[in-house]
Amino acid sequence: MDLISTLLGGLASGMVLFIVSVGLSVTMGLMGFVNLAHGAFAMLGGYVVVYSMRHWGLPFAAALALGFVAVALLAVVLERTLYARLYRASELDQVLFTIGLVFVMIALVTLGVGPESQRVVLPHWLDGQTDLGFIKYRTYSLALILAGSLLMLALWLGFERTRIGAKIRAAVDNRRMAESVGVDVGRLFTLTFALGSGLAAVGGGLGAEILGLDPQYPLRYLAYFLIVVAVGGMGRVTGVFFAALLIGVLDFVLKIEFPKGGTMFIYALTLVFLLARPQGIFGRKGA
């Protein structure tokens, strides 16, 4: 039983990692843009959720939806006005710009809300235990696993079965070719950037219970989001899904086994893995 409950806990945090990181993977795959500020969108989403529940009395689900819309809109504005200028810039400029953006968002959140960490008050139907027959486990963790799996299914269908999904896959694999057959990669990018940031916001809200929520959030989890994307492969939704679950479970187990410095093994494994497969789990060579 102990094994199963550890596994469930790890899967729940893996799902949060997936929901936050999937957008980053797709946008990086499309534009090769190094967006270190992705975690900041997740943080903003978390704050929108907490604030709208506390001050406007929105139910949890509505607050998540609001977080998605608000952050997606902000992402479109930022993308059109600022990010778009740096697509052809060097990696270094992109790194600098997005670190700067992270600092600005951290400072604005600290000024507006304060430096202390925030708690999401879960609705009754998610707070408590559920009997699965063979094990009793936290309802919220189970709900996270369900939500993450459904999202994976929806994204997979969207990618494999819709026209836009086909365009995105084409552009990730070969941007020039996609453009020359008439795919407007710029618009596609704005769309995926907005969707990805919105999903990150949802992940920030859903994951606040597990990852916590305070202004340092984007920097604390930066390495995790990047590892998930690098291991999963850029622009690969299924890859990111498995990478996130793997890292979620590993992290959960290691933090129990080695409370101090246990995450060392994650970094070591990532190093070894990326050397063997620099393109990620399902990435193709040279893509």
Partner: protein, 327 residues
Amino acid sequence: MSGLPAVQELAARHRLRWWEALPWIAGIAAFFLFPNYLSFGTLVLVTILFALSLDLVLGYAGIVTLGHAAFFGAGAYTVGILAAHWNWTEPLSGLVAAALVAGAVGLVSGWVVLRTQGLTLLMLTLCTMALLEQAANMFSGFTGGFDGMPGLSFQPILGLFEFDVLYFRSQYLYALAVLFACFVVVRMLVYSPFGRSLTGIRENLLRMHAVGAPVRARQVFAYAISAAIAGVAGAVFVHATGYVNLAVLGLDRAAGVLIILILGGYGRLYGAFVGAVVYMVLEHTLSKAYPTAWQLGLGLGLMLVALYARNGILGLIDALRRRWSTP
């Protein structure tokens, strides 16, 4: 041929110019002018040295890294562990040990990591640093874990100059001397054929492969040298302050030194000096009084630099000078 202005300029580019004496004059003048700020001054000198080491990989070899603090930390922990566990407190041999250990870490990690490029490379440099940070956290019996090793003391430099815990006089001069020695080495390297080929690799990787340059060996070598110098900076930091903790290995330090170098201007040796002084003076005066406003300003500043002033402060000065001289 040799009469062409471009050729003459190329042939003379390694010569010393009068303004290259300025940083050192300023460094010595600061010793007499600000006797009460020498502990801060020492930290500025350490940061300059650290940024200079980054300039070698980032500015000259064109390797974008988010994990350069790994080597600063390797040097710092080398000196700290030697002092705390083996009572090895002689500073100059400590510097050599720190350089060797950090250089070895750089050689091994560079040999492994530099096979990749782009985002993967960025990730792997970050991973190397996080790995070391967590290792230092885990083996706390050895490294002091989260609290680190406070209260280290070292023998007098060359057996003559006691470390001065109150006014940091000897620390400041010690840091200045080490910085000068390392700077001479870096300057020689940069203007050597080796340095030229690094620039070639940065500017056109494919062509350097095509002309038969040993690209990866050169990159790894530059990475290791830079790591050794960063290790020396970390060692001087520990000698001067008498403590080590996990912060020497953190993302904050790695991002900070990157920002400092870009702010000053990378790939031009003196960017490290200008960037470290400007950044640290601003931080020192603003961050204590208005920490959040400082972070906001820093963030906005970075975004502006990335969008409009990619060559940093020295680049701006160059651009202004050029505008002046061509009416």
